[in-house]
Symmetry: C2
Subunit: 406 residues, 2 copies
């Protein structure tokens, strides 16, 4: 018995017409004699509607009760969709998180999956050809409802695929795959046939919001191939899978960008051990995620410390720094919110020299100044003036020949 896992997002189940299209996607594997576990999100807009409601009721809604509330969104989706399947004579039933169960920790609102009862899940397939599973939700050890955080339905689907040892986890969305860059700003952006987990992680965290980051981490850990496809358009999609030798042929797989960046500079802090820790510990304690960090070479025992934070955290970051400014010897705190980050991503970089040089020279040719550079094994990121974002993305896309067929 071959089981495949399919996941459909909120726009794919937004209304009756959309759900009819989803039904067609399920019929295909059924006709091939396969069984299907299908994971659904809440109908587009529903989760936000519920969250807004809770905010009216309470300034700081209780996280556990919040999960009881928002998990109704997926419950509605799976009930309605199963009705459609039953009308078509398909042996189907809906499954809520606690019914499988999908066991999670107790971190309400952003719970992590601990365990899925594989045997119980397989047993359901004895009586049903399609199991319609509520995404985004699980239950803790006391059977309280938990949710997995925004985009958590992707993680639900990958976790089910891992538990069922499915050959592939198909994630249907409103785009037909992962692109070499954002097609909205670069008309020559091209769908990628195959991308490595690590590349996808970098693409996802850079704002290519096709998949929830955690779902990719999960897929990597359990080696579950993810096929990203469009609900509304037929096509091969993008396969997110483990690195293989063929992938290394391409030096660079994609260009990502992120405009939610702000630069903060502490001018003339003492250049002595512990200074970096003194700066970043209180910022981390406030739950602010620092991205790029650069420290200039020392001049006369002092240095400038520059880093980036999400724009919404700039004020709070400055407040924190004001308190410790004197202790650090800092003369000034500078901020700049007109910045963005462009990144060149590719597992092929590991084996190719000169990727950075190509990137820097391409940006130089357009007179785009680089403020901060940060690199990893498979990524080079540059902080630039925000107004150059689109130009930089197009320039880098062209410099690495990404518009060409693989």
């Amino acid at each position: 018995m071959e089981i495949i896992v399919q996941k459909f997002g909120g726009t794919s189940v937004a209304n009756l017409e959309c759900m009819q299209k989803v039904k067609e996607k399920v019929l295909k594997p059924l006709k091939e004699g396969k069984k299907v576990a299908i994971v659904l999100s809440a109908m587009a807009g529903e989760t936000n509607r519920l969250i807004e409601m809770a905010k009216k009721w309470s300034k700081y809604p209780d996280p556990a009760e919040m999960d009881v509330l928002v998990s109704t969104g997926e419950q509605v989706s799976i009930a309605l969709f199963t009705m459609l399947l039953k009308d078509a004579g398909i042996k189907a039933r809906s499954l809520l998180g606690y019914q499988i169960p999908i066991r999670t920790d107790r971190d309400f609102g952003r719970a992590r999956i601990l365990d899925i009862d594989e045997e119980k899940l397989r047993n359901y397939f004895k009586n049903y050809d399609v199991l319609v599973v509520a995404g985004f939700q699980g239950c803790d050890c006391e059977n309280r409802i938990t949710t997995l955080g925004r985009g958590g339905s992707d993680t639900s689907a990958v976790a089910l695929a891992a538990a069922l040892k499915a050959k592939v986890c198909e994630i249907y969305t409103d785009v037909d795959g992962v692109y070499t860059t954002d097609p909205n700003i670069c008309s020559s952006a091209r769908r990628i046939d195959k991308i490595a987990y690590d590349e996808m992680l970098e693409m996802a965290s850079m704002g290519a919001k096709v998949l929830q980051i955690r779902s990719v981490e999960f897929a990597k850990k359990y080696n579950v191939p993810i096929l990203v496809r469009s609900t509304f358009k037929d096509g091969p999609g993008t396969l997110v899978t483990k690195e293989d030798p063929n992938m290394e042929a391409a030096m660079v797989s994609g260009i990502a960008y992120d405009k939610d960046q702000a630069r903060v500079t502490l001018v003339d802090v003492y250049d002595r051990p512990g200074v970096a820790a003194n700066i970043f510990e209180p910022i981390a304690a406030a739950g602010i995620v620092v991205d790029m960090i650069v420290q200039n070479p020392s001049r006369n025992g002092s240095t400038d410390m520059t880093f980036t934070v999400p724009r919404g955290n700039v004020e709070e970051t400055v407040k924190i720094l004001e308190k410790i400014k004197d202790k650090l010897g800092a003369k000034e705190i500078l901020t700049d919110t007109n910045v963005s980050k462009v990144s060149v991503i590719g597992v092929g970089m590991r084996n190719h020299a000169g990727v950075a040089a190509i990137a820097f020279s391409a940006l130089k040719n357009e007179n785009i100044n680089i403020m901060i550079i940060s690199t990893s094994e498979i990524k080079i990121s540059c902080l630039i003036e925000e107004k150059y974002t689109e130009l930089a993305v197009r320039t880098l896309h062209e410099a690495f020949g990404l518009e060409k067929e693989e």
Copy 2:
């Protein structure tokens, strides 16, 4: 540890302002050192919204999936209300049907409660002062969601009260108690302080829609006193309880009416054994509830058979009768939808002669013709022309002195 059970209907949790009022009701017993199990319905209109949605999706929605769908209404209510309690520093949590669990049979859409885990329920009270329970829902032996039918939250509340051996089950609604008759048509209608289960059953089935009939049956079976009160107005309410000698003082407790009646007459059917069975078996098989039945004395071996059905079932009833008409020897099938039923209800009737005579003579004085009479130990019902309904109710209300204080 004294535990009280409170239930609030859809209009009581319709919005934030209403829920704030409900919160006040919970605070009172808490201040007296009691613990509270509070049962909530879906917010007014929500259940209908979900049902309408399902009807768009499917002509005959799968009953099991329908329960998954509509049970989200109560889930939303309990989550939001518990947020309010937590904000007020109250140790509270929400409980869904399967979490208690409230075990039911598998008759989706109109399930019956089989068992409530009293020990588990009491254990929850070790950690919480208020348990906010989703009304209307339970779960079957496989942990699938079931619902108890319209008004089922009343039954949930009474069942919890029975399991917890609570002294009283307080049912809050938008009226301040059970009235001697409908105040909308009889200005001298009076709130009843105390009413017997059997009387309440008759009142409820006659269209005094304060309580779900099954909840009263449940309360009678387990001897749980129900106190019906208003969420929005302070007052003593109406206590629904077992008969006691004091109740017998009043001969009649209330006047009910039901306009959803239609009369069907089969003219000149053979007067022989089995005819009644031949008529009513196929009608019952079609799920049509026959209320009053009267058979005239035989004339020359044939008789007229007259009965009432809900108005919406008249056409179907006639269709069924057309098929068997010749076999029964019936000359004609007559129908009349301009009829209604008025009923005089009271456990005191058992010990008082002459109740029927008072009723008939009161109607005669207003020239209201009685088409069918049906009686039980505690009830006298008369079918009359619909246009006289209000007049008949007022006349009977006055004839039995119901406007006077008890």
